[in-house]
């Protein structure tokens, strides 16, 4: 198992009122993303625990692109990864953001 952590400055606070969202499952080629609104509005953090070791450079690139596209200010993402491909990772991050920006019912 390898753990990685990336902290970025975000341009703005992610919209919505939910404090938490979770998407995905930990399975072969899949991952779960837990998003929590626990950070200051201009910060975001992505913590990864992955079964596939040695892909740090790819994770770094995926996370950087995600932060630039989505500006998830205030969010901490915790990922349990079962060896997902980068496209799946990007998709789950985008899904997590969409879930947390929905308003709480």
């Amino acid at each position: 198992m390898e753990t990685l952590s990336y902290r970025h400055r975000a341009q703005q606070r992610m919209a919505g009122s939910k404090s938490m969202a979770i998407i995905g499952v930990v399975a072969s080629g899949n991952l779960e993303v837990l998003a929590e609104r626990v950070l200051p509005d201009t910060e975001c953090q992505v913590d990864i625990s992955t079964a596939a070791e040695g892909f740090g450079a790819v994770w770094e690139a995926v996370v950087a692109d995600f932060v630039e596209r989505s500006s998830p200010g205030g969010l901490k993402f915790s990922i349990n990864d079962g060896g997902a491909r980068p496209d799946t990772v990007a998709l789950r991050l985008a899904q997590a953001v969409r879930l947390i920006e929905e308003n709480d019912r």
Binding site: F55, V58, G83, P86, D87, T88, L91, A94
Partner: protein, 548 residues
């Protein structure tokens, strides 16, 4: 005095030798080994029928059992190296030289045997090319073929899987060769005559049908969200703007997703009747929902597909069928159709390099290409005009006067940036080149040449290579859709942005596609059972695909 009919005399001698082990044309399975040793001669050129679908399996097993002391150094000319016996004959020294086209399941073993020098390789062909050579310089002395049934005169019924048989028989029988057919049974009257009896010299009643691989069955349950996204991109970004009505699909999951999105996503885009009406395609089960929803006018097939027989029979307006009601497939004609009458080929591959060359050959697996290099190429000769062909030509050569401008067939590679086990689709250097060096081949086993490829579709977007004006632009357009692979991360961000502004790269958002909408609920069928139900219970999938 010059002898002008030695081939006829030789055939007569073979028939006489074979007849000692036959009753009329009928050879018993138990006598097959003796029979083959009688009709074959060392050094013969032999076509053992078998492609990526049907197999003359009984004849293959019998050939592998002949005595190498009597029969050796055969030159095999055949579409497929698929059964273990196809390679056993090389191990045993029965055969020495090989010209072939496809080797899916034996890809790893054939690679090992080529490295070990156990096989003397002629060339890896496309189907159409190998068929062509049957008539020029690789004409078989003996063809061992497969059919469903025969009558006492040797008339053959090949059933839905006619495939290569007429081509092989034509080349062999009309040029002094001997044709031996395995059939399930000998009947009084065949349902239809696919091969006339006077072209067939011996028949073996095997007591069971020849083997057919269900190669074109893709289980919708295995289609991923990313594959659905690539399918949405292809439909909205290629099928719609070019108005692709006549086409061929590869066998991958991306194209299966396209087939299953037509009645849902395609319908929403208002494309029914405007795209995907005429096909050169095997009867893909995943096409059933589109056929049932009225998208498809006509399909011509290379071969059949296990379990689709009754469905095809009940949809004769769509498929080519015989007087008996069952499908008539023909690989040579369908390959020709795909080459000259289709405006698009779209399929998957294992590796694409920076100039768009692609190959399914890796250093340890030589899968061969079957029909893909023909489907995936632009025949450069004169061709009739069509809207997509002209539009593509105009994109590639905007400065050539319209009346003098060649069109372009769309050749599209579709896939995810990372394949199975996180293996990248995009590479700096194709493993096919490494293989060519290792085997000292004159020509690397490229499947589709970069200059034939017009578009590459991944989940990152569509690269339109027609709009690239030089080598650098091509490379950056490819890097631009290569995502997080090493190739993708090595892109020149500024140049990629410029290419995007010009439409040479189109991202999902440029096409109004939200990746989060790529959902399995868009699939018109999500399981094999859904396909069966959509067919009105006419589709009977093979046991390994059942999920009920």
């Amino acid at each position: 005095m010059k002898e002008w009919a030695r081939q006829k005399a030789a055939r007569k001698a073979r028939i006489e030798a074979g007849s000692r082990h036959a009753r009329g044309k009928a050879v018993a399975v138990t006598d097959l080994q003796d029979f083959l040793e009688a009709v074959l001669q060392p050094g013969d050129r032999v076509c053992l029928e078998g492609d990526n679908q049907k197999q003359a399996d009984i004849l293959a097993a019998a050939l592998a059992d002949v005595d190498p002391a009597k029969i050796h150094d055969l030159h095999m000319v055949q579409s497929g190296v698929v059964l273990p016996e196809h390679l056993d004959i090389f191990e045993k020294g029965i055969a020495r030289r090989l010209d072939y086209s496809y080797s899916g399941p034996q890809a790893a073993r054939i690679a090992r045997m080529l490295f070990g020098g156990q096989i003397e390789l002629g060339a890896v062909h496309t189907y159409l090319e190998l068929f062509a050579r049957y008539f020029v310089d690789l004409t078989p002395n003996i063809a061992l073929i497969a059919a469903v049934s025969a009558d006492a005169d040797g008339n053959l019924y090949t059933g839905p899987n006619t495939e290569d048989t007429p081509t092989i028989v034509e080349a062999t029988s009309f040029k002094g060769g001997l044709v031996v057919a395995q059939v399930k049974e000998i009947v009084d009257k065949v349902p239809r005559v696919d091969i006339p009896g006077d072209q067939v010299h011996f028949v073996v009643a095997a007591g069971k049908p020849f083997y057919v691989e269900p190669l074109f069955t893709r289980d919708p349950a295995a289609i991923t969200e990313t594959q659905i996204l690539t399918a949405m991109l292809a439909i909205k970004g290629l099928y719609a703007p070019y108005g692709i009505r006549r086409l061929n699909h590869g066998i991958g999951f991306n194209t299966a997703a396209i087939e299953l999105l037509l009645p849902t996503y395609g319908e929403k885009l208002g494309l029914r009747g405007k795209v995907c009406t005429h096909w050169a395609l095997n009867p893909h089960p995943t096409l059933i929902p589109a056929i049932e929803a009225g998208w498809v006018e006509q399909v011509h097939c290379f071969g059949s597909e296990v379990g689709m027989e009754d469905y095809i029979r009940a949809r004769s307006d769509i498929f080519f069928t015989g007087p008996d009601g069952s499908l008539r497939s023909n690989r040579a004609f369908c390959q020709t159709a795909g080459l000259y009458s289709c405006d698009m080929f779209i399929g998957s591959t294992l590796q694409i390099d920076l100039q768009g060359h692609s190959s399914t050959v890796t250093a340890s697996r030589i899968a061969g290409f079957g029909g893909a290099p023909n489907m995936g190429s632009d025949p450069r000769g004169r061709r009739h005009p069509s809207e997509p062909w002209l539009k593509a030509g105009a994109e590639a050569n905007p400065d050539t006067p319209a009346h003098m401008r060649r069109g372009r067939k769309l050749v599209v590679q579709i896939g995810e940036t990372f394949g199975d086990k996180n293996v990248p689709l995009f590479v700096e250097r194709l493993e096919a080149l490494t293989l060519a060096e290792k085997l000292k081949l004159d020509l690397a086993p490229i499947m589709v040449y970069g200059d034939d490829v017009t578009h590459i579709v991944t989940e990152e977007g569509i690269a339109n290579l027609l709009l690239c004006r030089d080598r650098d632009e091509r490379e950056q357009a490819i890097r631009g859709v290569a995502g997080y692979t090493d190739i993708g991360r090595g892109r020149d961000a500024k140049m990629v942005q410029q290419l995007r502004e010009r439409g040479a790269i189109r991202r999902p958002e440029d096409l109004g596609i939200d990746p989060l909408d790529a959902d399995r609920r868009l699939l018109a069928a999500r399981s094999i059972k859904d396909l069966m139900l959509a067919s009105g219970a006419l589709y009977a999938p093979p046991p390994q695909f059942r999920n009920w």
